[in-house]
């Protein structure tokens, strides 16, 4: 467990619900769940979740911190919003799922190889580098995420699509050499660093 994680555990004396309420986006809604199960039943990917949302909420209340934060369940959410629309208590379930995933990621507890997480990390690095998404590099880094050989295979498989996109001017091959970006990149990086500093300070307040 990371230092940061230990710090919050100490602060909340193992009251995981309180921890979630304080640090997870929309976490204060968790206690409103009445365990009706309509979110789980409405989820198009429901079969693939180890723990559907209402089970995660119950686990949070039961203090199953480790199991929740290391779970890959909340990473399965595709933001279809079916659950939010149907929740009889109006819980922003989609947002809570993303909040939990993000929190687990920050604490270094999220499953390392979970594809959604890998994608999210690649995307973050991609877009924060220049302040603009570099689609060519994003695609390539996704192809090569499982090693060089696999990357070549994936790239070949998707070549026709890439070429068609280039023809339609939806993809610029020149992006390979750096790519476009915002004017003040160092300003952007300073801003992001400051934001992280503020967020981390909030988490570490418990120390």
């Amino acid at each position: 467990m990371s230092d940061m994680s230990n710090a919050v555990v100490e602060k909340y004396h193992n009251d995981f619900l309180k921890e979630v309420e304080a640090h997870v986006e929309d976490g204060e809604w968790v206690k409103m769940c009445m365990q009706c199960g309509v979110c789980a039943g409405s989820c198009p990917l429901g079969d693939h979740w180890a723990h559907p949302p209402q089970e995660l909420f119950m686990m949070i209340r039961a203090g199953k911190r480790e199991e929740v934060l290391t779970s890959d369940s909340m990473w399965m959410c595709t933001s279809c919003y079916n659950c939010i629309v149907r929740c009889p208590r109006g819980l922003p379930i989609t947002h809570i799922m993303h909040g939990l995933a993000h929190y687990a990621h920050r604490l270094g507890l999220a499953p390392e190889k979970q594809p959604t997480r890998v994608f999210a990390k690649l995307f973050w690095d991609n877009i924060t580098k220049n302040g603009r998404a570099n689609e060519l590099k994003m695609g390539l880094s996704l192809y090569f995420k499982d090693g060089f050989g696999n990357g070549i295979k994936e790239a070949m498989k998707n070549r026709p699509l890439g070429q068609a996109m280039m023809k339609a001017k939806r993809l610029n091959p020149m992006e390979f050499f750096g790519g476009h970006g915002v004017k003040d990149k160092s300003g952007l990086h300073a801003m992001l660093a400051k934001a992280r500093e503020i967020e981390d300070a909030k988490l570490e307040q418990g120390k």
């Binding site: 009706c36 199960g37 309509v38 039943g41 409405s42 429901g46 149907r86 009889p88």
Partner: protein, 432 residues
């Protein structure tokens, strides 16, 4: 001529609550006017097959109350009447009533000749449109008053003349007009009751798309021996007997997207309806109740325990997520997750009954006088309401037992107002 004074109590709504309030006040010697929007008294209980928890027939309790009514000279009943406006204050209201024409006077003996003579048919409100009725009709067998009504839609058509010609009692008067009356009233008891929540609004359950998804109020009608299916549980799609029946609780209640309140009676209603299934099919019937939690309170808990012990009734802890239809069989298929163990299911049933809840029958913004209400449109007991008191399901989603208690309490409150009015008039009379 309707005579009223500021010592008269007006009761609005002739369901079980309004009837009770009117009778309690009248039997204490007060002067009461009871108005009802429909052509007959009785309200929603007359549309129920049996009452929980005793499983007796509501017609019995209704009959007792109608006898009390017939035996009391202090209550005047006006049907087809609504409140148009209220002004004034405690002990001194002016109420404007609007009375729609019945086109049948009190010569009527309910012989039914007019009904035979007319041709046009309309959806039968009493049976929630599950069958049709003629344009000249008796609202239901126990209707009070026992008098036919002409549907205003047949007036000025051939049917109206046919009805008039057929009546041996000269009871049909096609020249009746809408009337407006202004009355002086001391206190008002509001007992306009509830209406079923519109199941079409619960989109994932497909009430509007799947014929074999019905509501609990429609299910009550099916059991009525004089009802649309002659007392049999039949599937609307193919008229076949349905033996495997699912009940979905909190259909539109306890839901931020629909009714925010717990309608309180739906759990008991479904438990009761599961006993109908057993009554009809014995061990061959199957009831499956999908629920969030069963809210059967105090003495009613015994009833729950009894139904729970029945092996043909099963309980699935789950708010059903959606319903689809199996085209081949016409069976609705319920999808969701059983939160006891988190098992995903897709369960077909022959018939699905939505346990829809109650909402106030008069919408919040249509109430003819300003009163304090909660978010759901139920009228609260509040001093600023003056002498306007809610009774029964106007006050809250209640079962009959509680509605009647509540109605008796509001009768007492109204009586206190009238007594104060009488005392102050006696005092000023003595002075002058």
């Amino acid at each position: 001529m309707v005579v009223a004074t500021n010592q008269t109590i007006l009761v609005v709504g002739g369901g079980i609550s309004g009837l009770t309030a009117a009778l309690e006040a009248a039997e204490c010697g007060k002067d009461v006017i009871l108005i009802e929007k429909n052509p007959s008294l009785g309200g929603r209980i007359s549309q129920l097959y049996k009452y929980f928890p005793k499983l007796c027939h509501p017609s019995c309790g209704l009959e007792i109350n109608l006898r009390r009514l017939k035996g009391n000279r202090n209550v005047r009943v006006m049907t087809l009447t609504e409140v148009a406006a209220v002004s004034g204050d405690t002990g001194n209201y002016t109420v404007t009533l609007k009375r729609s024409p019945r086109y049948v006077n009190d010569n009527c003996t309910a012989c039914g000749e007019c009904g035979q003579a007319v041709e046009a048919e309309f959806p039968d409100e009493f049976h929630y449109g599950m069958k049709t009725r003629k344009g000249a009709y008796l609202p239901f067998n126990m209707a009070y008053p026992q008098r036919y009504v002409l549907d205003p839609r047949i007036i000025s058509s051939d049917d109206a003349d046919k009805a008039k010609a057929a009546c041996p009692m000269h009871a049909i008067d096609l020249d009746m007009q809408e009337e407006t009356l202004e009355l002086s009233i001391g206190a008002i008891i509001w007992a306009t009751g509830w209406r079923p929540y519109d199941a079409n609004k619960i989109q994932p359950y497909g009430y509007d798309r799947f014929p074999n998804v019905i509501t609990n109020v429609e299910f009550e009608r099916m059991l009525d021996p004089f009802g649309p299916t002659g007392g049999k549980i039949l599937r609307p799609s193919d008229g076949k007997e349905a033996k495997d029946i699912a009940f979905i609780q909190c259909a539109g209640s306890r839901d931020e997207n629909h009714l925010k309140h717990c309608s309180r009676i739906c759990c008991m209603a479904s438990l009761k309806q599961a006993t109908y299934v057993r009554e009809q099919y014995g061990d061959e019937g199957k009831s499956s109740i999908y629920y969030i939690d069963i809210r059967a309170i105090d003495r009613i808990d015994n009833f729950f325990a009894k139904v729970k012990a029945d092996e043909t009734v099963s309980f699935i802890k789950s708010k059903v997520a959606s319903i689809t239809e199996d085209k081949a069989t016409g069976n609705p298929v319920l999808h969701g997750v059983n939160v006891e163990g988190y098992h995903r299911y897709s369960n077909p049933h022959e018939l699905v009954v939505l346990a829809i809840g109650m909402e106030p029958s008069v919408p919040k913004d249509e109430f003819p006088v300003e009163v304090v209400m909660d978010d759901n449109g139920f009228v609260l007991a509040d001093d600023s309401n003056g002498a306007i008191f809610a009774a029964g399901c106007t006050a809250d989603a209640l079962d009959v037992n509680r509605a009647v208690q509540n109605a008796t309490a509001s009768a007492l409150r109204a009586i206190q107002v009238i007594n104060r009015v009488a005392a102050s008039e006696a005092a000023s009379g003595a002075e002058g």
